[in-house]
Symmetry: D3
């Protein structure tokens, strides 16, 4: 895990005021700049579930398209779900789900853009999470053992804290 | 992964009709029974992040309480987020976050109950996911490398498909 | 327009009290019975738009699947959109969009079920409307002249007011 | 149907990427300009329903005011209902419902303004649709045969695609 | 303040578990019974504001109707606003706003009914609050000094805790 | 009650057009400026309730933290609750609840900032109201006689109508 950005990090959690009270951080002094965030994650599924998902993809009943759409719609509601997130006007949003046969899982990537005073990391992570939950929902009748994992930020740019690139 | 329930599983994904069209499954013939679901997951954090979270817990600025509340509130909106989920009247909902020092992660468990014709697995998994996302949001200024992982169903009971208990 | 049900109709609008004040009608004395509603409508599109929609259907970029999903999700929010609608637990919900080549339009049908004290006509009509709006949104860059039309109740059964079947 | 704008239209549906995957179109390169959209539609009602609606207007129980308000509130939620719509800050929004006695219908017009990178056609069309659905809801106890029709864009201006004026 | 009900009250706050963690109280063992709650409150306004409100009532621009509708719609979202409230199917909901000339205020009363395992006190109080906020919003351009006050429960019946009647 | 700003006030309610129809006021010609609003209010509670609240604060089960968070989250939804409010991107939001032992009440203050064409008075007042309702919800099992009162604007600055400061 290598961080590309070398800005000094705050020594305390900024979502609390000095009395320890949760607050929405004041971003009024921050300029509106273009910001991008990419997040990823996956859903590990049984081999038989993977077969059903892929059958739907090529023929009918496409789980992955439904989950991509759910991820997009979920990301638009990030500020309603995450208590201290700022409401934001998003300028681009895409969610991609791909079957990873070797590891028997569905790989998910979400990319979000905004022009605003705060970043869109939470929107990207929420898109991945909601897409993953939707895969679970649509396949749970055949596979309750699925696991959502490795949901994380891959990349972020724009804003005062600079660029973050997840190491490999 | 051992399944305790021995019901026959459907051979196709029930969220699609015979033409491959997504649909909300018809539950009108199912009786309203008491149903419980337990889900779990965790957020892996840097050692320094764990210190900040624990400092807030004992003193002020409690990340874990905020995330527990977000998980509860998020679970109530499951049917808005997950396209084919039925709206449900939930009868109990709790979310517990605990620091796991040895593995430097926050462990999350959600328990949901309803009396209705469908289960609450998705509500429990959504509660865990939203709580995990909230931990990420509140600590991201100090730690962008956090990872949400192992979000999964631990237990489910009630309903025709019987009891499911995740194996160890 | 022939009505199959022969119940006496109220002589005033029941959504207002005697002082003319809007209210959510009291349904507490009504028994919970199974209720079904079917609504329909269509979006008239240019010939070239129809070609693009059909190309997506057979290959990629399926407008109709997205709109079906939007209709389902929109129906779940009927009580938030329509001021005096009761919140309801829906037990089944499907939305079907079909290209009607002869009339160059997309035909939409929504079917909704509940077991409750009020009907689901509004949910079915909302599903059709949101699906139709979604078709418009996805094709508007190539065709701003599309028209949403003939959104209406086709069938309703269950409840004190009996069965309604739209005449031909 | 005459189009006043003479811009070249895209040859494919922009809401899908090259792999046919639904996406929220990237508007980050588009400047924020003032944009206006006007949409219209109507609800055809039985003569007796029209009498009840008009009685409420002059005296009490005003269906049209309730529907106008519902249209305004519904338009603010367009991006939640329509999967690929961008969330937008609206700067003006009005919905007008008028009884059209000759054709026994309620005529609806919605006008929406924003200063932003995308248009507000969907907001105007959603306002009309939700207002129309609300008329249906409030009169359905006396008239299940009402029909929502001719919901369409009348005018749009601002943005790269120029002005659109519906022909007569 | 006299309480009519003589049930023993809990000695601790039931919305927390024994570890002090917020939770949605388990109501799965409680039977679904009919429950009613009535709440009231008022908005104190300047004399000139009262004149404008009353002018709108008799002629046009009716603040009170808009606020009544907002109260009804707001009450349906109580469980989204109040973190530990259970989602409920409401069976009746009315909000009444009346000008009180002598005290230069708008008096508000909300009545809510449900058949369920928990009460609707919060729905009634939320209806009053949202209606009051709406009066403020609609008159704030002429009167920023308005005050919302005395928002309280007047009556509650149904459920294990019995009937509550506010003393005079 | 002294007003510090001396701007001329409108002689009619701006939320209605000349025909008395409710509308979202056109703010498209107003420049985006920084705006702040502060609102306050309180919940009067029984002495015993105050003891329980304070016990939770120092030890566990902190009503005030939950209510602060609910106020923040509620404020983000102001435009959904208040029919004619504009959706706004908020840049800062904090809610503070403090026990006032002498008067046996919980004092609430909310501060909201935006950079936009309209003010955030309604967001501040909504934050106070939702926080107050949450206190009621969490303590209602022990005290149904609590009263929400004196919810009002304390300060507002930015925008054409200038600064407002509530007199003492």
């Amino acid at each position: 895990m290598a961080r590309k950005s070398r800005k000094t990090k705050p020594s305390r959690l900024t979502h609390f005021d000095e009395a320890g009270r949760a607050q929405m951080v004041d971003v009024s002094a921050k300029p509106a700049t273009e910001r991008i965030a990419v997040a990823s994650g996956h859903v590990t599924v049984a081999r038989q579930t993977m077969r059903l998902i892929r059958a739907g993809q090529v023929k009918k009943g496409d789980v992955l398209s439904v989950a991509e759409l759910a991820g997009i719609m979920g990301a638009k509601r990030t500020h309603e779900l995450i208590p201290l997130c700022h409401p934001l006007a998003l300028s681009a949003l895409s969610v991609v789900l791909k079957p990873n046969l070797r590891q028997s899982r569905i790989d998910i990537t979400a990319t979000v853009k905004t022009t605003g005073p705060t970043g869109v990391e939470m929107e990207a992570l929420t898109a991945v999470s909601v897409a993953a939950l939707t895969v679970y929902d649509m396949c749970k009748a055949v596979d309750r053992g699925m696991v959502l994992g490795d949901i994380r930020l891959e990349h972020k740019s724009g804003g005062k804290s600079g660029t973050y690139e997840r190491g490999r």
